[in-house]
């Protein structure tokens, strides 16, 4: 356990954090804006992986093109067909999206079977770079880059555009925003599509790192919810929460083992939420 190994653990922490963050991004936006607890988020991630698989398998698109394509497909098709009928019924959304998640999981299983699918990526993504004694996997860097770009893009979207002003207005006071002529239904629709699309991108990335299966969503969604709760439902909160827990996970796992590290993190989170139940950066007015 020398300095090199510790450096390895710290760098890995950034990578773990970016994976958790990208799983949580879509969830954060949907929850932060519309207050919807989207139980189907894991299955949206799964759909993202399957849509990339389909584009690769049936259209022969290269992987890098599948990434943005999965965003469009999952985000728009699903929102238009299903989710838009669920808005404005806050309590029902939890149950309804859970139902949606079951339907999606079974639907994909019926269509594609329960055997895992394979996402092909360029050979270069499957290698690593050594910087001294520090090893960096190329694909993890890709995940990190995509996550950083998405966070930047979202920040610009929410704080530098007209659409962002409208979203924040709807978040703070739906009725007041409506009286200024903002169509809150449309805003909800667009943020949900955006959130779902982000899940799609996550799915396309996770399919390469791990496995493409109808049940793959479940393993990410708990972690994603955790990040949203600790972060308080805001974009900045999720970024900080993922960063901190990702690093802690990696460093604890370095000194102890993976199972114990998870346990310690859960304990820390419970203690944290005992003293700050609203999370790191609570959204002003997000509660309704």
């Amino acid at each position: 356990m020398d300095l090199g190994s510790l450096l390895n653990a710290l760098i890995l922490g950034v990578s773990i954090a970016s994976i958790w963050l990208i799983a949580a991004l879509g969830l954060t936006i949907i929850y932060g804006t519309a207050g919807v607890i989207n139980m189907a988020h894991g299955e949206l991630i799964m759909l993202g992986a399957y849509s990339s698989y389909m584009l690769q398998f049936y259209l022969g698109l290269p992987y890098l093109l599948c990434l943005p394509a999965s965003f469009v497909i999952v985000g728009l098709v699903l929102e238009r067909c299903l989710i838009r009928y669920l808005y404005n019924r806050p309590l029902d959304t939890l149950l309804a999206t859970y139902g949606v998640s079951l339907v999606l999981m079974q639907g994909v299983r019926l269509l594609f079977g329960s055997d895992p699918k394979y996402l092909a990526v360029p050979e270069i993504f499957q290698s690593n770079v050594m910087l001294g004694s520090v090893s960096i996997s190329v694909f993890r860097v890709v995940v990190l880059l995509v996550t950083t770009l998405l966070v930047l893009a979202l920040w610009l979207l929410f704080y530098k555009t007209r659409f962002g002003v409208q979203v924040r207005a709807v978040m703070q006071n739906k009725e007041m925003a409506a009286s200024f002529g903002i169509n809150s239904g449309r805003i909800y629709m667009m943020t949900f599509a955006l959130g779902a699309g982000l899940a799609g991108v996550a799915g396309a990335l996770f399919g390469v790192l791990a496995i493409v299966l109808p049940t793959m969503g479940a393993s990410y969604v708990v972690q994603a919810f955790l990040m949203v709760v600790v972060g308080g439902g805001s974009l900045a909160g999720s970024v900080v929460a993922s960063g901190a827990t990702g690093e802690l996970q990696s460093v604890f796992a370095f000194f102890t083992n993976d199972t114990l590290a998870r346990f310690i993190i859960f304990v820390l989170i419970v203690v944290f939420l005992r003293f700050r139940p609203q999370g790191l950066f609570a959204q002003a007015g997000a509660r309704r």
Partner: protein
């Protein structure tokens, strides 16, 4: 009768008491669950695997191959001249559903035997039911042992059969420094205890041992530790989706298979296909069966299974073969029992008592001749070591010369010996149904 609340209540109570009546006639715990066989009616067996949920990947294949085996047996005249009828249920990867469905299969469907389960957790969930009804479970996959019940027949390799050749082979080929990685539950931990015994005998050195939560797909921290320890090879008991993530990240983190191969007890054809052959190539697996086994029986099995309507997933692997063989173990045991006590008197327990020593010859068993141990009702088999090739198939690099005896208590000599009647402790006491 007027429809009043009181009348509805009365009728409901009367109806439920009547419906509950069969429970009054149930035999008490430990008594034989009477014969349910009638001349001219098919023999019912239960197929208790998960078709949905996280365990569906291996267990759906088990259901398919079992149906294929039953079709094949029925076409060839059935068991003792009577066709088998499978009762297929979906255990939904949920352990409470397993035990509920096991009860249903025994009490409602009156099956003569249950073929089922993949994980040790699901087996342990249904064993109390199976033992209470003195019923019969065919458990067709590898498992950790340390169990001695009078109601199970296992057709997969035990921990002692699995790693006995693999560990010395790897030590000899690649070096003595090894790192253990496993999923965090009973089977990997027990298997690793066994492997340590073989490792010590082979003069190997254990550098580290890490367990990953079941279903987890983040192997970064573990791979970091492996990089630090720099072993000669990795011994893996990681299962399922995690296993695929493990092999993928192994390559993505820059580990080289020719310098540090993974020797696994579970990474078979189904896994290498799912991860992509480039991630599996070069790694090792110990199993009694490989799709590439070059025998006429296996060629016939692979070809006709993949062509059949059950071969839709496009592969055969050790788990499927062990399930397929279990159907023939059942056939042989049943016919022996029927010849001894008469067809209508056959009960699950009588089949079990006649299954000791039952052989599945190499013209039927794709892995080659296997037979059931007369004491512990596990399988004598020949473990083989395969190396994954660039196309995802396995090349067999070593096969045991002789059949290896199953020993469920190989690393617990103090526990005693598993016999037909129970676990016989060194002091001569016999304990029944030890799980």
């Amino acid at each position: 009768m007027k429809i009043t609340r009181r009348n509805i209540l009365k009728t409901t109570v009367a109806a439920s008491v009547t419906l509950a009546m069969p429970h009054l006639w149930l035999p008490k715990s430990g008594e034989a669950w009477g014969a349910t066989l009638k001349k001219g009616e098919p023999i019912k067996v239960g197929l208790l695997f998960s078709l949905t949920g996280s365990l569906a990947v291996p267990e759906e294949d088990s259901t398919l191959v079992m149906q294929y085996a039953i079709d094949e047996i029925n076409k060839a005249g059935g068991v003792a001249g009577v066709p088998i009828e499978p009762v297929i249920v979906d255990a939904k990867s949920d352990f409470s559903v397993y035990s509920e469905k096991a009860k249903e299969l025994i009490l409602r469907d009156k099956v003569i035997a249950i073929f089922g389960c993949y994980t040790s957790a699901s087996r342990k969930a249904i064993l109390p039911t199976v033992m209470q009804r003195d019923h019969l479970l065919y458990y067709p996959t590898c498992y950790e042992g340390a169990e001695c019940t009078q109601n199970t027949i296992c057709t997969g390799p035990l921990a002692n059969q699995h790693s006995q050749d693999l560990i010395p082979f790897m030590v000899q080929q690649f070096g003595k420094r090894v790192f253990f990685v496993g999923s965090n539950y009973v089977w990997p931990k027990e298997s690793n205890k066994n492997a340590k015994v073989w490792l010590e005998k082979a003069g190997g050195e254990l550098l580290g041992e890490e367990y990953i939560p079941l279903g987890s797909s983040e192997f970064g921290p573990v791979l970091n530790k492996i990089r630090d320890a720099n072993p000669d090879f990795i011994f893996s008991t990681v299962v399922g989706a995690s296993d695929i993530a493990f092999h993928k990240q192994f390559k993505q983190e820059g580990f080289k298979v020719d310098k540090m191969p993974i020797a696994s007890l579970t990474t078979g054809e189904i896994e290498t296909r799912a991860m992509g052959a480039e991630f599996g190539a070069g790694h090792f697996l110990s199993a009694p069966y490989f799709q590439s086994l070059d025998t006429p029986t296996n060629h016939k099995f692979v070809e006709s299974f993949l062509k059949s309507k059950y071969g839709k997933n496009g592969t055969t692997h050790y788990n499927m073969e062990e399930t397929y063989t279990s159907a023939y173990v059942f056939k042989a045991g049943f016919e022996k029992a029927a010849a001894a006590v008469g067809f209508e008197n056959v009960t699950p327990r009588i089949i079990r008592d006649h299954s000791g020593g039952v052989r599945v010859e190499d013209d039927i068993s794709p892995e080659g001749l296997v037979w059931i141990d007369e004491d512990n009702f596990n399988t004598w088999l020949k473990p083989k070591i395969g190396q994954c090739q660039a196309d995802g198939t396995f090349k067999i690099v070593k096969a045991a010369e002789k059949h290896v005896a199953p020993n469920p208590y190989s690393i617990y000599p103090d526990a005693g010996v598993c016999t037909k009647d129970g676990l016989k402790a060194p002091d001569g006491k016999i304990r029944k149904n030890v799980i």
